[in-house]
């Protein structure tokens, strides 16, 4: 059957939201402005989570102890993204990575950059699972996750 017979109607759905950050996450972003990556520690299971939580999802108890974690960590996994899709925030190609910051107990999702990203084979030689990366700060802080501009491999 031809496309003409399969009639489609094009449209858009657009809905605006304004989501509260709450105390814990507001504080996290305030710390980022001071170039500090802060997590919260659970008194019970003693895990340190970044992003911080106001409560431990496992112990279901308040988490009230702030701890500064290292700005360096280990790459637990990463992906080279070179496919465009609707409403993508970062220009491709980019590397999305899960980084275990030293002194924390959860993987932190951010990007790895500061290297030539155009050639994937060369990227693979630089970015390694288990490799170490460190945070590079944005000069201008806007109070969002990109106040850490990216993580770059530690030479």
């Amino acid at each position: 059957m031809t496309r003409e017979e399969h009639r489609i109607v094009k449209g858009q759905v657009m809905v605006p939201y304004e989501l509260a950050l709450g105390r814990t996450w507001s504080n996290f972003y305030d710390y980022l402005k001071e170039e500090k990556i802060m997590g919260k520690k659970c008194r019970k299971c003693e895990r340190v989570l970044v992003p911080p939580r106001s409560f431990c999802p496992r112990c279901f108890e308040d988490m009230d102890e702030w701890v500064e974690v290292s700005q360096e960590g280990v790459v637990e996994t990463w992906v080279y993204v070179n496919m465009p899709f609707f409403a993508q925030e970062i220009k491709i190609p980019f590397i999305s990575a899960q980084i275990r910051l030293d002194r924390s107990d959860s993987g932190f999702i951010h990007q790895i950059a500061g290297i030539d990203l155009s050639d994937f084979d060369r990227v693979r030689e630089t970015v390694k699972l288990g490799g170490r990366v460190k945070a590079v700060w944005s000069k201008e802080k806007k109070g969002n996750i990109l106040d850490i501009a990216y993580f770059e491999p530690v030479k």
């Binding site: 009639r7 489609i8 094009k10 304004e18 989501l19 509260a20 950050l21």
Partner: protein
């Protein structure tokens, strides 16, 4: 929505391409030719507009097409003054349920051609059972707006 506490603006916008299917495609093609098409159920005998693939009562396919008159009576209506995000039309406007002649359901569309400045008079005009007729858009695109609105019949 300015808040005194910290928030993140999060606009969700996504594109769609909705399939009309044969029945509704034929219904909207009808509008393009200034015809309002319904379907009649062979079991309960009811006529539905817009046309349906299957009878919403009997769950059986509806094969019989009927053209209905672009006229009917007002079952109920509301005058919309509220403003909201993504609204289809600039208020004030009237949305109504109209029973088209020869159909067994209400049809939803706008009613115009009424002076809203004198609202009491407007209410009189739109009493239950008031007769209205479809006004066709000049430019038609095989969509629901091919009927621009309904207006009272004098």
């Amino acid at each position: 929505m300015a808040k005194e506490y910290r928030t993140i603006r999060n606009d969700v916008a996504l594109p769609y391409q909705w399939a009309l299917g044969k029945t509704w495609a034929k219904f909207f093609d009808g509008l393009k030719e200034e015809k309002i098409l319904g379907t009649k159920c062979s079991q309960c005998g009811k006529v539905f507009v817009p046309a349906r693939t299957f009878c919403p009562e009997c769950f059986i396919d509806m094969a019989e097409w009927v053209e209905v008159k672009p006229e009917g009576k007002v079952l109920t209506w509301t005058l919309v003054r509220a403003k909201y995000y993504g609204q289809v039309k600039e208020p004030p406007y009237i949305v109504a349920t109209i029973q088209l002649e020869g159909t067994d359901c209400g049809f939803h569309h706008f009613i115009g051609g009424i002076d809203l400045a004198d609202f009491k008079k407007a209410r009189q005009k739109l009493k239950r059972g008031a007769k209205v007729k479809a006004v066709w858009s000049v430019e038609k695109k095989a969509e629901i707006y091919d009927i621009s609105q309904f207006v009272p019949i004098k």
